[in-house]
Symmetry: C2
Amino acid sequence: MTKTPDSAVRSYIAQHQEAFLADLADWLRIPSVSADPDRAGDVRRSAEWLAEKLRGTGFPVVEVWETDGLPAVFAEWPAGEAGVPTVLVYGHHDVQPAAKADGWRTEPFEPTVVGNRLHARGAADDKGQVFFHTLGLRAHLAATGRSAPAVNLKLLIEGEEESGSPNFGALIRRQAERLAADLVVVSDTGMWDERTPTVCTGMRGKLDCQIDLTGPDSDIHSGSFGGAVPNPATTAAELAAALHDEQRRIALPGFYDGIVELTERERELFAKLPFDEAGWLATAKSHGLQGEAGYSTLERIWARPTAEVNGVWGGYTGPGTKTIVPAEAHLKLSFRLVAGQEPERIEQTVRDWVAARVPAGIGHRVHFGSITRPCLTPLDHPALRSTVRAMERAFEQEVLFTREGGSGPAADLRDVLGATVLFLGISVPSDGWHSVDEKVELDLLLKGVEAAAYLWGDLAENHR
Amino acid sequence: MTKTPDSAVRSYIAQHQEAFLADLADWLRIPSVSADPDRAGDVRRSAEWLAEKLRGTGFPVVEVWETDGLPAVFAEWPAGEAGVPTVLVYGHHDVQPAAKADGWRTEPFEPTVVGNRLHARGAADDKGQVFFHTLGLRAHLAATGRSAPAVNLKLLIEGEEESGSPNFGALIRRQAERLAADLVVVSDTGMWDERTPTVCTGMRGKLDCQIDLTGPDSDIHSGSFGGAVPNPATTAAELAAALHDEQRRIALPGFYDGIVELTERERELFAKLPFDEAGWLATAKSHGLQGEAGYSTLERIWARPTAEVNGVWGGYTGPGTKTIVPAEAHLKLSFRLVAGQEPERIEQTVRDWVAARVPAGIGHRVHFGSITRPCLTPLDHPALRSTVRAMERAFEQEVLFTREGGSGPAADLRDVLGATVLFLGISVPSDGWHSVDEKVELDLLLKGVEAAAYLWGDLAENHR
């Protein structure tokens, strides 16, 4: 039996947490900012540091994988027995840019413990959450007396996530055979808040496009010609305005076809989360709520597809007045997609919809960016149940559910590998991802270690 | 009797046209570009040159009027008899910027005769059309044997028209008593084309505004918040899209209330103009027609009010993708107004309409620019009939009618002075206003001289 006794895990973690935190601090000192070409050497150093540490953890196979950009780290440790699932842990070792001059109270690349918090760029996003797997795995081995994990364990820790993972898709396609897994565990998300442990069950997908509209060959006088020729800025506005109906449902024909609807159980569990609307609005820095009729705010951002105008421009935008019919106008739109929506189909829907609505005399081109697929694991999936049990053992309280409104490369892993995606994360909204004073709560970090220590045994037992 | 014998006018013009053209060329050499602060001295020199020339023409009162910007020229010559109308001629002596490097075939400030055309910046807009009044007035005096014009004649030639006439309103209000007139003759427009003499009967008014919309306090993540908070770029689009209904009628409540509709006679006469749709579209550089249902292109641009998006901007407008709900968005709108529409009422209509449509959570401010009123003289107005007869005698053919789709400061004169506005101009669309290779057709310029010579007598006779 692979079930790990809780007390053994806890005492192992207590004995080793000081060295674990010292190691993490070493890693956090490496400014692995993938967006900054001058930091490419640091991103490589970060990959090599992690590879060395994974070898020290016991992984028999550890490799730094090159890409057309910055390197990823791959590690593998077979269970040594048949009939257990293969699990791939996903995370990233690159970080967002940071400088004390941005307003940090501490040096972002000099990890500093303040009270029960470890402040550093990457403390939560994502080095802390990658690193909890090292001590978690060792606690799992120590408490079970095993010499190898209870599952076939693989890690893929990429180095360009904060730069949009431009080479990730190619990498995993190239290495699909070695990455083959039944389950992907994404440790790059978080929980509801400090007092409410949760498990994320999915991420929305994303499709974005730019629509370029052309009218007259140059800006023309609106007094001489306006009202008799079509105006591309008006067309841009009409397209953007037509995205939604009066119920704030997306009005593109067939847009909702085939989507996986929220279950009643999921809606009930979402409703149990201590959602503070005023606090949420303050975080959003918004002054009002608006969204699809019939859904709560959490449902709208987690489980419903959306269409958003990210940018619009055309005509004269300087001070004062210029009475023109502009020569061109542009829209940047993005769509968040949920399970059941094929991005390729939605792309065609958008193309057809634009073509049908642009009036004679206005030229149009629609350019789509990269696609991110949605992913969703049902509440009753055995592997999700394992994840929930691991978290409940660590936190000793009921675990609720969230989803991610955003979109990540994790879904690519599901598509390429055909794997079920799980999320194991302990970061909280106050951790300051991409902002100043990023931190991780040390208590929660150690709960993450503990949950990771329980997960492999539970999965081996329940996901055969 | 003040009717001027045509042969006497023609022979006087023939005798003096060479000196007239030489004088005009002298004036055109002065680069009176009001938009260029470095040319302020040239604008002043232009005003003084004209003042001197008007003294030479015989005006007993000629003054250079200062403004907070660049100077205007005022001249006055009373008829010396009671019971005749007072007429104020309006034009401008400043010009658009021009440089040979812009693509001119000749030096823009070195007047050059090519075939039957005089090329120079200002040849048509507006020095040529101001200057034809000098020889026209002398021909009128010579042919009638009068020592003063048949009407009380005043001229106001401003120096900032090409810069938006920022000080014109204040000037005419300050000088309203001296400018008092029954009729204003605007010589700053033109005719249909070289073969189709026309008289303009009105100009549309204009109202422009900028609408500033604010959403979240900063750009926020569209994956985390989009679909649950209002997006100011969407609001901007919804406002711009809601300006028109499906018939391309303006959808603001009460927008059309009280407007002076086109008469059947006017529609018939517009329809007689040799309108070449393909040619018009080529001039517009547009690739299609679109406008209010039930009206022709000419009716749409001359006689119907319009609402135009001159500019729109908000959110991310750079390369690639930025998945945000933008913090703000902006619209620049302009409305062309026709007779019967009070700009102040329309301004309030726009304000109310915006306020009613902006959703909770989006802040808005609407800033209006300066107002230009519409003006329109009915086809059967006696003074308009006089203008038409003067043109018909000069051109010896039927004169049709146009309107100006644009908006000019002339309407201010009507409002301040309570005067009826007439238009006397001979410029044609090929003259290249505001463009390279501006020119005036010499034949037409001399027809303008001739029409001006006939007008004062006809008005004195028919507008008592």
